[in-house]
C-alpha cells in the first residue's frame, strides 16, 4: 500500500488474535462465565399492558414456590433506587424520569413490574407465572400522530406534551433561496421501527464483596464506564467500589450502549441479598425490552435550479422514541441526528430543519448502528431521484453535479458540520466501474423487464459521522456522554506489553487493531501485545464503543500512550548505548542504533532496567516503570464517505426484491486493518439490506408487541445477502491522529438508500418511487399495481 510506506503494522490485513478461542468454543460471554457459588437467578415480570396503573401485585404464590428466594415489586422497593434521568431541562430538552421498577405507572409492554430471585433459572421463570398483577388499563398512545394530537394521552404528564426534545434551525436567506427555485420536489419518507438483534441477548451477573461493600458486575454492554457511573448514581455507591466488566459481548450495534434496569437491579439485589445475582435475557424479552430504533418520519423538500443545482433543503423529522429517554444518549439521539446527518456528500447552502422526539407507550428507542443516517440518506437520495425525473436529468448526472469536489474541502455544510475531506467523485467512479454500471444499463430493457423480473440499479453517495469528541456531544446537548477515550500501555518487567483500553469490543477486532497501533510505536509484533478492554478496573475512564469511535478515538489514545512509552524506551536505550535519542529506532523487540544490530538493547533488558531488575540503573531523573496512560479527544467529528451501488431484481408476481450485486467504494481515512474494515462494511450492508427489505417491529393499536420472535421479526440470512465487492479509497484525515476515520456504520447508511434507489430504477417504467421502509413484497406489489401518475 503505497500511502502506507512509513507503517509496518498499521494497514496490514492481519487475521485477528481474538479468533482462536471463539472458534474453539472457549469464549466467555456473560452466560458462559462459570456460575458463582450461591448465585440467585433473576427473572423479570414485564407489564402486559402498554399503559396502566398498578393496583396490586400479589407475589405470595411465587414466594411459596420451593426454590424461590425473594420477589420484589416497585411498591416494596420504594425509593431505594433513584430513577434514571438522561436529559436535564434546558433549551429544547425536557427532563423525564425512568423508574427502574415502576410502583405506580407502567408505560410500555415490557416495563418491569416485579423480579424474582430463585436458585435455578427454570424455577425463577416458573415463579413469574404465579405472580398476579392487578393493573388498571389506561388508554395508550402508540404512534407519532396519536401522540402529537390535541388532547393526546401523555406518557410523562409532567412535561405537558409528548415532545421531550425539539430543535429547529434555519440558515439565513433560506426562504429567498427556496423561492428562487425552478423546481421543488417533496415527499414524506417513513421507516418502520427496528430491533438491533445482537445474537447474544442482554445479560448480567452481579457479585458483591459483602465485607468491602464492593461490586463486580459483568454485563453484555458497550459502555462499561458509563454503566458504572449509572450504578454509582442510582444506587448511591462510590465508583471506587464498583467494577464493571464487559466480557465477550455477542454483538452490540448500539442497543447495548444504553444502560438498562436489569443491570441496576442485579447490582442492587446482589448488595441487598449478599449473593451473586444473574439475569440472562431471552430473545422474546430482548424484543420487548431492548431498545428499538428508526421509528421515524422525514418530511422533506428540495429546491433546485433549472439545471439541477440543489439550492435549499427543508427537513422536518419526527421520531417515535417510545416510553423513556435512554441513558446516556437521552431523547435526542435520533431526531437530532436525523437533522444533522442529512447534509452529507452533496453541496447545498440553505437548510431548514425541525426535529422532534415523540414519546409513546412503546419500548424505548435509541441508538442503533447508523442512528438516523440511513433514513436521512434514504430520504435525501429519494428526493434526488424525484428531482432528476422532474427536471428531466439523468440521475447520475444530477449527483455528479452536486457532489462536493475535493477542492471544496475543508467544507462546512449547511448544518454547520465541518469536514476536512471527502472523496465522493473518486468513490462514485470506482463504484460505477466495479459494478459495471454502463454494462448493466446497456443490457437493461427500457421497461426494466427481464423474464418475470424487473431489474434496476441504484447508486447512493453517503457520509458517516465518526469519531465524535467531547465538543460534539456538548454541542448536541448529550451531557452524559464524555466523548474522549483512554488507553494505558505498559511494558511489564519481563518486556511483554499490556494495553488497556477504555472501550469494550463486540466483535470489531479491537484487540487486534489496537495491538497493531501499539506495535507500530514500540517495534514489536502485534501478536506479542496483550490488549484488554471492557474492564473499568484495568482501563482509564472513557465513553465506550458506539458511533464509529473505536479506531479514531481509542486508536488515537493507544497511539499517544504507546508513543510516550516509546519515547521513554528511547531515552533509556540512548543513555546506555551512549548515543543520541534521535538515533534510536525501535524494531523487532529491540531499541537499537539505527541500522546497527550490534548496538541494541532488547525490550526485556530495558524493562528490567525500568523495574530495577537489571544491574544497569535508570538514567538520572527517570521514573521507575515503563507505562503511560493517555486520553484522546478529537477536535469534532470526522466524516467518512462511501458510494454504494446495488443491482436488484423484483419478482413481478410476488413483489419480492432480491439484491443481485453489490459494490461499496468507501473512504475511512487511514486503515488500521483492511480485513476488519471490510468486515464492518459487509455487516453494515447486511443490516441495511435488512432495514431496506424485511425488518420491522410492529405494535398493534393497543401497544401490544406483535413481533416477539425471530419467526416474526425477519433478519437477512445467507441466501438474502449477495457477495459484496469493496474498493478502499484512503484519504487520511488531517483532523485526527494517524488520519483515521471511523468505519462502523457506513455499511448500513449506504445500503438503505442504494437498495431503495435500485428499486426506484426497477419500477421506473411504472412511475412509482418508494417512500417507506421496508420495501416489503406487499408494498412493492401495491406500487406496481398503482395507476401511473399523469405527466
Amino acid at each position: 500500500m503505497p500511502g502506507n510506506a512509513p507503517f509496518r503494522h498499521i494497514g496490514r490485513p492481519m487475521p485477528r488474535t481474538e479468533d482462536a478461542r471463539l472458534l474453539a468454543g472457549g469464549a466467555a460471554f456473560v452466560d458462559d462465565l462459570p456460575e458463582l457459588p450461591g448465585t440467585l437467578h433473576m427473572a423479570c415480570m414485564r407489564s402486559p399492558v402498554a399503559h396502566g396503573r398498578i393496583r396490586e401485585i400479589d407475589t405470595s404464590g411465587a414466594l411459596g414456590l420451593p426454590g424461590v428466594h425473594a420477589v420484589l415489586t416497585g411498591a416494596e422497593l420504594g425509593d431505594r433506587i433513584a430513577p434514571m434521568v438522561a436529559d436535564r431541562d434546558k433549551a429544547g430538552f425536557r427532563e423525564t424520569r425512568r423508574d427502574i421498577l415502576p410502583a405506580d405507572t407502567v408505560r410500555f409492554v415490557g416495563d418491569t413490574i416485579a423480579v424474582v430471585l430463585a436458585d435455578d433459572p427454570y424455577v425463577a421463570e416458573d415463579a413469574l407465572s404465579l405472580i398476579v398483577a392487578d393493573i388498571e388499563e389506561l388508554e395508550p398512545v402508540v404512534a407519532i400522530d396519536a401522540a402529537l394530537a390535541d388532547g393526546a394521552v401523555l406518557v410523562h404528564p409532567e412535561i405537558g406534551d409528548n415532545i421531550p426534545f425539539s430543535i429547529a434551525q434555519t440558515t439565513e436567506g433560506f426562504e429567498a433561496a427556496f423561492a428562487a427555485a425552478a423546481a421543488v420536489v417533496s415527499d414524506v419518507f417513513t421507516s418502520t421501527r427496528l430491533a438491533g438483534v445482537a445474537m447474544e441477548p442482554r445479560g448480567c451477573v452481579a457479585q458483591v464483596d459483602v465485607g468491602l461493600d464492593s461490586l463486580t458486575l459483568w454485563s453484555s454492554t458497550q459502555v462499561p464506564h458509563l454503566l458504572r457511573l449509572a450504578i454509582a448514581e442510582l444506587l448511591d455507591w462510590p465508583e471506587s467500589r464498583l467494577r464493571v466488566i464487559a466480557p465477550d459481548v455477542g454483538g452490540g450495534f448500539g442497543p447495548k450502549a444504553h444502560v438498562y434496569p436489569e443491570e441496576i437491579l442485579c447490582a442492587y439485589l446482589a448488595r441487598r441479598h449478599g449473593r451473586p445475582v444473574k439475569w440472562i435475557g431471552d430473545r422474546q424479552d430482548d424484543f420487548l425490552t431492548t431498545t428499538h430504533a428508526r421509528d421515524s418520519r422525514f418530511a422533506v423538500e428540495m429546491a433546485l435550479s433549472a439545471d439541477g443545482d440543489i439550492l435549499a433543503v427543508r427537513n422536518h423529522v419526527d421520531v417515535n422514541i417510545g416510553a423513556y429517554a435512554c441513558f446516556p444518549f437521552g431523547a435526542n439521539a435520533e431526531a437530532g441526528g436525523g437533522a444533522i446527518y442529512m447534509p452529507g456528500a452533496y453541496r447545498f447552502a440553505h437548510y431548514d430543519f425541525r426535529a422532534r422526539s415523540v414519546m409513546t407507550h412503546t419500548a424505548p428507542a435509541g441508538v442503533y448502528r447508523g442512528v438516523a443516517a440511513p433514513v436521512a440518506h434514504f430520504a435525501f437520495e429519494g428526493l434526488l431521484d424525484r428531482a432528476a425525473r422532474k427536471l428531466g436529468l439523468d440521475p447520475l448526472a444530477l449527483r455528479r453535479r452536486n457532489l462536493l469536489r475535493p477542492d471544496e474541502y475543508p467544507h462546512v455544510n449547511a448544518a454547520g458540520i465541518r469536514s476536512d475531506g471527502g472523496s465522493h467523485h473518486e468513490c462514485l467512479e470506482r463504484a460505477l466501474a466495479a459494478i459495471d454500471h454502463d454494462g448493466f444499463r446497456a443490457a437493461q430493457p427500457a421497461d426494466r423487464r427481464i423474464g418475470g423480473r424487473l431489474v434496476g440499479i441504484g447508486v447512493a453517495c453517503i457520509t458517516e459521522h465518526t469519531g465524535q469528541g467531547a465538543s460534539r456531544y456538548r454541542t448536541r446537548g448529550l451531557l452524559r456522554v464524555p466523548g474522549m477515550e483512554g488507553a494505558t500501555v505498559r511494558i511489564e518487567s519481563d518486556g511483554n506489553v499490556s494495553v488497556a483500553i477504555s472501550q469494550s469490543t463486540q466483535g470489531q477486532g479491537h484487540l487486534t487493531a489496537f495491538a497493531q497501533v501499539v506495535a507500530e510505536s514500540l517495534g514489536v509484533d502485534p501478536e506479542q501485545i496483550t490488549v484488554s478492554e471492557g474492564d473499568t478496573a484495568l482501563s482509564p475512564f472513557g465513553s465506550g464503543t458506539f458511533a464509529s469511535r473505536g479506531a479514531v478515538i481509542a486508536g488515537g489514545a493507544a497511539y499517544r500512550a504507546s508513543q510516550e512509552v516509546a519515547a521513554k524506551i528511547r531515552r533509556i536505550a540512548a543513555h546506555h548505548l551512549e548515543v543520541a535519542e534521535g538515533d534510536i529506532e525501535l524494531v523487532e523487540g529491540h531499541a537499537r542504533l539505527k541500522g546497527v544490530r550490534q548496538m541494541a538493547l532488547s525490550l526485556r533488558e530495558i524493562a528490567g532496567i525500568a523495574h530495577s531488575l537489571d544491574p544497569r540503573a535508570l538514567p538520572e531523573g527517570e521514573e521507575y516503570g515503563l507505562e503511560a496512560r493517555r486520553f484522546y479527544d478529537p477536535p469534532g467529528v470526522v466524516l467518512s464517505n462511501a458510494v454504494h451501488a446495488a443491482c436488484v431484481s423484483i419478482d413481478t408476481d410476488t413483489g419480492q426484491v432480491r439484491v443481485e450485486r453489490y459494490v461499496v467504494a468507501h473512504d475511512c481515512g487511514r486503515i488500521i486493518n483492511p480485513l476488519i474494515v471490510a468486515g464492518q462494511v459487509h455487516g453494515g450492508v447486511a443490516q441495511g439490506l435488512g432495514q431496506a427489505l424485511m425488518e420491522g417491529v410492529h405494535y398493534d393499536e393497543t401497544g401490544q408487541l406483535l413481533t416477539t420472535q425471530l419467526l416474526d421479526y425477519i433478519v437477512p440470512l445467507a441466501a438474502d445477502v449477495p457477495d459484496i465487492a469493496l474498493c478502499h479509497v484512503e484519504t487520511p484525515s488531517s483532523d485526527t491522529l494517524l488520519g483515521i476515520k471511523g468505519a462502523g456504520e457506513g455499511g448500513v447508511i449506504g445500503a438503505v438508500p442504494a437498495i431503495a434507489l435500485a428499486v426506484n430504477d426497477a419500477l421506473a417504467g411504472r412511475g412509482a418511487m418508494v417512500s417507506r421502509l421496508p420495501l416489503s413484497p406487499e408494498y412493492i406489489l401495491s406500487l406496481m399495481t398503482m395507476p401511473a401518475p399523469g405527466r
Binding site: G26, G679, V685
Partner: protein, 179 residues
C-alpha cells in the same frame, strides 16, 4: 433465607445416559431440561450458545448421531443413548480444522457468538457435499443467523475450506499414485 433443598425437584428427575464429545455421561435431569442447558449448565460446555431458544437462529446447533440438531429445541432426555457432539468436541476432525483455519484467515467471525453454530452447519455441509458452489453454501447456512459479518466472509471461508480440503485430497491421491 428461604433456601430450599437442592433436590426440590428431584422426584421428577430421570437418569440420562448419553455420550457427549466421546465421553459417556450419566446425569439426573429434569424431563423439561433442554439439551442446550444440559450442555451449558450441567456439563459446562458453554461453546454452544443460545440466541433465540425457538430454533430459528442456529447458534445452538450441535450434532446428534452425526446430524445437526437444535439444542434449544431438544430435551436432554431425547439424547438418551445417543452421541452428541458440540463445538468443543470437533477437535482435530479434518473438516472442522480446515473450517477453523479458513474462518480465521477469511475473517469470517466478528463477535463469535454464532460461530460455533456455523462451524457445525458448515461441517455438516462439507461432509456431505465436499465441493459446494456458492449457492449451495448459502442455502446450507440459511438455518444460521449472523448479525456481524453479512455472511460474506463466512461463505468465502467455507468455499476456502472446501478448496483446501480438496487440495489436501489431491495431494494424498498424488502421493498414493506415486507409490
Amino acid at each position: 433465607m428461604t433456601d430450599t433443598p437442592p433436590d426440590a425437584n428431584a422426584a421428577d428427575r430421570r437418569l440420562l445416559r448419553t455420550t457427549v464429545n466421546g465421553i459417556a455421561r450419566q446425569e439426573l435431569v429434569e424431563p423439561r431440561m433442554l439439551l442446550s442447558d444440559f450442555l451449558r449448565r450441567t456439563l459446562h460446555l458453554t461453546g454452544t450458545h443460545v440466541g433465540c431458544a425457538h430454533g430459528v437462529c442456529g447458534c445452538c446447533t450441535v450434532l446428534v448421531d452425526g446430524a445437526t440438531a437444535r439444542a434449544c429445541l431438544t430435551f436432554a432426555v431425547q439424547v438418551q443413548d445417543r452421541e452428541v457432539q458440540s463445538v468443543e468436541g470437533l477437535g482435530e476432525d479434518p473438516i472442522a480444522a480446515a473450517l477453523r483455519a479458513s474462518f480465521h484467515e477469511c475473517h469470517a467471525l466478528q463477535c463469535g457468538y454464532c460461530t460455533p453454530g456455523f462451524l457445525m452447519a458448515a461441517r455438516q455441509l462439507l461432509s456431505e457435499t465436499p465441493e459446494p458452489d456458492e449457492e449451495t453454501i448459502r442455502v446450507a447456512l440459511s438455518g444460521n443467523i449472523c448479525r456481524c459479518t453479512g455472511y460474506v466472509n463466512i461463505v468465502r471461508a467455507v468455499r476456502h475450506a472446501a478448496d483446501s480440503l480438496a487440495a489436501a485430497r489431491d495431494q494424498q491421491q498424488g502421493l498414493s499414485d506415486a507409490r
